[in-house]
Symmetry: C2
Subunit: 333 residues, 2 copies
Amino acid sequence: MGGDYAPANVVAGACEAILESAGRFHLVLVGPEDTIRAAVRDYGRQPGTSAPAPDAYSIAHAPEVIDMHDLPTAALKTKRKSSIGVGLHLQKDGHVQAFVSAGNTGAVLSAATLILGRIHGIGRPTIGALIPTAKAPCLLVDAGANVDCRPQHLLEFAIMGSIYVSAVRDLKKPRVGLLSIGEEDTKGNEASLAALKLLRKSDLNFVGNVEGRDILSGDIDVVVCDGFAGNILLKFGESIPSFLKTKFKAFAELSITNKVVGLMVRNALRKVMKDLDYQEHGGVPLLGVNGVAIIGHGKSTPRAIKNMVFRAEEMVLKAVNTNIQESLASINE
Amino acid sequence: MGGDYAPANVVAGACEAILESAGRFHLVLVGPEDTIRAAVRDYGRQPGTSAPAPDAYSIAHAPEVIDMHDLPTAALKTKRKSSIGVGLHLQKDGHVQAFVSAGNTGAVLSAATLILGRIHGIGRPTIGALIPTAKAPCLLVDAGANVDCRPQHLLEFAIMGSIYVSAVRDLKKPRVGLLSIGEEDTKGNEASLAALKLLRKSDLNFVGNVEGRDILSGDIDVVVCDGFAGNILLKFGESIPSFLKTKFKAFAELSITNKVVGLMVRNALRKVMKDLDYQEHGGVPLLGVNGVAIIGHGKSTPRAIKNMVFRAEEMVLKAVNTNIQESLASINE
């Protein structure tokens, strides 16, 4: 029931994941039973689609919905039968191995931390975000979950981010950078300067401080920062496509020639915009909880939802959490 | 002598400012006398230009140069006859009313604070940066001078930024926003949450928290943040043009048709890139010191230098510093 286009987009994406995976996993759809059943039926009636076989999925009844306006922790208490609460309890009780949601990010983060618990040794679970670059997307971690961070938290983000990227991109040693205001080890704020020392001692492939200008080149795989700087950067990046549209539109209006060029450029622009569209990358991992939780954008398309399900599957198969736990144990020894 | 293309670009920009202003001000060029004299001669020999009349400018001899690799405070002590030191002392002693440099930002900031002193009531002088938007450029303040800030510092940045923008853009009440991770008053980090309360009580045209996505729309005139987040954001923004070039190039290489479209789009792109070029806006103010100092990009073009001189003139004529001082006095009463 999460997101602006629930249940239609979520159910459609789930159905596509079921059909495309051809039996690799069993999906449990969590929400008000009648609503979900109707949405599956609607999906099957669309031209060119068919509803998945009844034994490929099941429905877990969850009559309540936490929406974007609910305060996370309060909502978890008052709406005990929400799809977020019910879904995460299914994982806690071992009925499912992963949880995917396009719902209220704060609520999913709070609920997952509360219900699943933290991985031993992790002070703060974190949410990463994939930023499009000239090469592969770069994982920005933290993307807004933790605003004031201690150096140890930044180290944890780096470890978790590195293990996650290593798993989903099959990279042996992802390049990890610490976001700062200069490349030199003397540049940074109090927390980043202390974190730099911890990171230099870690066995990560740590490249040192990186600057805002180093992200889009795609030469860094994991960029570590507190959630305040991370969230500001992420949202600034998300606003670039509409800014460019405005700029090109203004250019096209300058003359008839420009208008013709503007029309010709539309396709090129659309393609570049698509690469810049953060939603295309479908879902970000919640790292540091005892379980797998993937959080998607509220405006997730069916395709994004499908990709989120596959990403969750990948996190389970590649045992991302076990790796995080082992890495932390070896550090704390 | 500041910047990557000194003295050529700096002298050329100064000469253009002298010629274009037609006697509105007298310029003092600070640097090794022979080098500067030769650069003025070189400028005058270029086709279509002529050296300015000898009485329109003078040269203050400063044989030493602080370069980008010098540590600011150390350099100020060891290189007492640098163009930065000599130039600022001319202002301190009342021989000039403003100082313009494309040199080492840290050195100019330290030297100006040390030599000119701070405006009474200002805890931390700040450097703002103009970010291109869909409308007029937005002043981001602080842009990297102060990484760890107390709430009071953020309030000071807001006041100084608002007065500066009001002067240079002839706006009665610039819209001031506090950079944060959500619009609600409950969103932010420790420092920003406390600063929000101070800003709500101020008589600025304060619109509340703004997010990373609110900058490029151009609906906010002054965006306040600490220098850590500000510098990261600024440098990320500066890297967008080359990222887009890479993306469009990749698009053009996909097919012959794309290549043709790519060629046609080149002009449109160049125009948009130019708007995105942070150097075009020429120089940022150092606010909070007892005097006028404009700092330019190390790669400043002659045009940028010329604009910096005009900006300095404007700050003097519009008594920006007097206004800052009066605003602070009224707050502290």
